[in-house]
């Protein structure tokens, strides 16, 4: 099960080498995103697009909010 995390935990995970992934559409990512995040929109998230990510490192996904 994916683990829900808060802001402080995100910062800790990133310091420890986690990968940040914004899953919103590209235009929203280009507008604003967390430092160092890559963009893989949910609609394009498959084995090919996920190939950009390193499997041995933690992955933190996020969108705009919890809605």
């Amino acid at each position: 099960m994916p683990v829900p995390v808060d802001r402080d935990e995100v910062q800790r995970l990133v310091e420890e080498g986690a990968q940040l992934v914004e899953v919103l559409p590209e235009a929203e990512y280009e507008d604003e995103h967390l430092p160092g995040a890559v963009n893989i929109p949910l609609k394009t998230l498959d084995a090919t697009s996920a190939g950009r990510l390193e499997r041995g490192r933690p992955v933190v996904v996020y969108c705009y909010d919890s809605q």
């Binding site: 099960m1 994916p2 683990v3 829900p4 995390v5 808060d6 802001r7 935990e9 995100v10 910062q11 995970l13 986690a18 992934v21 914004e22 899953v23 919103l24 990512y29 280009e30 507008d31 604003e32 995103h33 967390l34 430092p35 160092g36 995040a37 893989i40 949910l42 998230l45 498959d46 084995a47 996920a50 990510l53 499997r55 490192r57 933690p58 992955v59 933190v60 996904v61 996020y62 969108c63 705009y64 909010d65 919890s66």
Partner: protein, 163 residues
């Protein structure tokens, strides 16, 4: 959306997947750095002064007046023990010559903006409402700082002067 993405990544074999459910709205509301076309330099948080004096509701106005003047401010924010903004002492309140409690003198519940609020919109609001500054609070209500109109306008003036 992020729970579905997290689930899909697990389905693709990723073993350490975390979901930042509150997302970038939460991140920005705490004044943390943002990249992109509308990065942190376009937001209120980058220009908010964090040295504004604060006091508690039970403090005496006479003491707070001295503290604010010594710090060179004509405003002071009233916060609870957690730093949540309860009210504001503006120029008129600080100029009172009686010694009441801060709670009696303050204007409660000032309107605030988040650190990720756009600087241009904040300037427009200060113009429209004839405000000299805007308190900036995080999404939990704690004080982040104060955006002074002169600082915000100086910033936009320097940007406009660039070739």
């Amino acid at each position: 959306m992020s729970p579905r993405a997290a689930s899909r990544l697990e389905g693709l074999g990723f073993e350490q997947v975390y979901d930042y459910v509150a997302g970038k709205a939460d991140w920005g509301s705490f004044g943390l750095p943002i990249e992109g076309r509308r990065d942190s330099r376009t937001r209120v948080g980058a220009y908010a002064r964090t040295d504004v004096p604060v006091c508690g509701p039970d403090d005496r106005l006479a003491n707070v007046r001295e503290l604010a003047r010594a710090a060179g401010w004509d405003t002071c924010f009233v916060t609870d023990a957690r730093g949540v903004v309860l009210g504001r002492l503006g120029r008129a309140a600080l100029a009172r010559d009686d010694d009441v409690s801060v709670e009696e003198a303050m204007t409660p519940g000032p309107s605030t903006v988040r650190p990720c609020f756009e600087l241009e919109k904040a300037i427009e609001r200060m113009h429209t409402q004839n405000l000299s500054n805007l308190p900036v609070t995080r999404s939990d209500g704690t004080l982040f700082g104060v955006l002074r109109r002169e600082d915000a306008e100086a910033r936009t003036a320097s940007q406009a002067a660039r070739p």
